[in-house]
Every structure is written in structure tokens, then in C-alpha cells.
Symmetry: D2
Subunit: 115 residues, 4 copies
């Protein structure tokens, strides 16, 4: 599948359940925050080694995949309902950040995507 097909799948899923009435911008943003936070909670108090161990355990890995899928669900739903071109938005953001964090300056430095 690609963006367009996933978009359609998410839209049909929501429409067939009449969920549009709940999907205000604020509540979809809440969806994004709460699902991202569930992902983050899996790594709470874990050091780098423990984090990688989680990704290697099949049950935990599935939990991680589930949370990422939930984030993608709300992201596609937000963009579809409020007519935002996600791909164009990301391309523009990369261009903007490309100027903000020039390659040569940041290569090997201690700086990082820190918006």
C-alpha cells in the first residue's frame, strides 16, 4: 500500500463507523499525543540496551508496531479530514530544516534536530 491507499482505508474505516463527529482537530491531536505517549511509556526508565531488547522481543515489538500504527492512523486521518498534503508538508519541512541545520556544520557536531 501507499499513502493514497492507506488514506482511503483509514477514511472508509472511520466513515463506516460514523466517527467524523468525534474527529475535531483537537481530538485528533489528542489521539496523536496519547498514542505517542503510549509508545514512549514502553521505553520509560530504560537505557539504550534495554530499549533495543524490547525491539527484539516479539510481543513487545508488536506493541511498538501497534502504537506506531495508531500514530499513523491519526496522522492520516487528520490530513485527510482537514485537507493537508502530508508529503508536500514534509518536503517543505526538510527544505526548511536543511537551511537551519546545514550539513557541514552539523556533521559530527553535537547538534541535532531540535525544533
Amino acid at each position: 500500500m501507499q499513502f493514497d491507499e492507506l488514506n482511503v482505508a483509514v477514511r472508509e474505516f472511520c466513515e463506516s463507523r460514523d466517527w467524523g463527529q468525534y474527529h475535531t482537530p483537537k481530538d485528533l491531536a489528542i489521539g496523536l499525543v496519547t498514542e505517542s505517549s503510549e509508545l514512549l511509556e514502553l521505553f520509560r526508565f530504560k537505557d539504550r540496551t534495554e530499549q533495543l531488547e524490547l525491539l527484539a522481543e516479539s510481543e513487545k515489538r508488536e506493541d511498538i508496531e501497534d502504537e506506531l500504527a495508531d500514530i499513523l492512523f491519526f496522522l492520516l486521518r487528520f490530513a485527510d479530514l482537514y485537507d493537508i498534503d502530508l508529503e508536500a508538508a514534509l518536503e517543505q519541512k526538510l527544505e526548511k530544516n536543511g537551511k537551519r541545520y546545514p550539513e557541514n556544520e552539523y556533521k559530527g557536531s553535537n547538534e541535532k534536530y531540535d525544533e
Copy 2:
């Protein structure tokens, strides 16, 4: 662009800046939470009408697009670095949720995606 091309663009952006060292699962999850929260903050204390007005103002709309792009950036980066198939994860999640929230039961009811 499609998923694969966006993935490559994000990967090259990060690699050319040596950011892999910072991109632990935990810190990428922090990226997802903090960018989602910035999106949510735009709608804080706003009612439905005010939320839609934000989406109609070009400057605010650009802020919203920027936050969505940041979320997509971290989502693609997480999936790429830790070898997760986002499309497959979403398809599986929709199937799982399809059983959990059957269409007929939820059509027009007061229930909603509430994971």
C-alpha cells in the same frame, strides 16, 4: 512522493548530519510526543469553531502543517531505523480494530476509536 521516497529523503537528511547517534527508540518517541503536543497546544482552550478558524488562517495552517510534518518525520525515522513496516502495521491494526469495533454496532452509536 510515496512512503519509500519519503523514507529515503528522511534517512539521507539524518545520515548527512550524523544524527543516528541521538536516535534511540526513546528519543524518537520523545520526538513524536513533543511534536504532537505542539500540534495539540495550537488547539488548547479552543472550541470547534475556533479550531476550524485556525485551519483557515494561512499562517496558523502552516504551523499545523509543520507540526504534522515533524510527526511524520519522526514516525518514518523510527520505522526506518528499527526496521518496522508501517503500512503492514497499519493494515494489521485496522483489521484488529475492525473486529473490536464492528461496523454495525458502532454505526451511529456513541462509541469511538478508544484504544
Copy 3:
């Protein structure tokens, strides 16, 4: 109990379990975000009436109290470990915000604490 006593209770709870090693500023901030997000998730997709109903159901009310207690736990722990005077910080913040949102101007207006 008051702040000081609660502080001591939280400190003893953590020290008797050797948790100091996990309580970096970042991980305590993750604690605050994830517990706040669990609180928020209780209200996701709910309108004002449904939110107040949750507060009136004894089981749900206990969930809400639990999440608020978790937030207070991490807040007191952060302040205690990193030597921050929460009361002074709040007094200063109220003074700062008092200038930013003057009473007369904001009384009855559409503006609100929006930091």
C-alpha cells in the same frame, strides 16, 4: 499533609527502592508526560457532559485521582531531586502571567492562559 511532608514521603518511597539511578531529569519529565497523557486519554472524544459524567462515576473518578497522584508524585520527585522550590516557582509564574494577562483586559474576553 503539606508539601514538605509529601516531599518526604515521596523521597523515602523512592530511596527505599533505590530508584534514584533511574530518575534523570529526562525520565522524570517522561513520567510527567506519560501520566498526564493517561489522564487526558480518559477524556478523549468526550464532550463536556461526558467529561463531567466520568468525574461522577466512582470507579472512573478513582482513575482520575490516580493519574493526578502520579503527576504529583513525579512533580515532587523532580523538584526534590534537582532542588527546585515549587512554591516559589509558582508564585513567580503567577506574577509573570499576571502582567501578561492583565485582569481588566482579560475579564470576560476570549483570551486565556495560553503559554
Copy 4:
């Protein structure tokens, strides 16, 4: 100041600006999440040493204090408006967690507050 006095200060601050109308449970929970996330963002991509350096720089330390104050503001406001006894909630939570994480078992082990 103590809880009671801080409560009164926060209540008067909000009432003199007519903010009660915006302070639904959901929007106060959004306040808690967004302020906690701003705190977390300060530590994003930072290792333990860098985190402690932030706490030692006076300007950054003030940012941290400001975010903690904002979290306390929304926490007290939520409890005051919806009649929740924060101190009692925390005492009960500590008791509950005391059983869940017995001292002897967890002392020096790799387990931690992980609710």
C-alpha cells in the same frame, strides 16, 4: 506557601480572568500534557551529563522552573475545580504502589515505578 494557599492563589488568578469557562477536565488535562511536554523537550536528545548541565545554567534552569510551575498550576486548578483531594490521592497511591513494588524485592533490582 502551602497547598491551601497556593490553591487559593491559583483560584483567584483564574476567577479574576473568567477562565472557568475554558477549564473543562479535558482542557486542563491538555494543559498538563502540553506543559509536561515542553519540560521534556528541553531534555530531548540530551544525555545525562547534558541534562545536568541544563539544570546548572541559570537561564535554562529558569525555563525548567517555569514549566514545573505551569504543571503545578494546572494540577492545582484541576483538583480545585473538580473537588479532588490531591494529598489524599497521593497518600493512597503510595500505599497502593508500596504493595505493588515491595521494598525488599525492588531494593537494588532493575525494576522501577512503571505504571
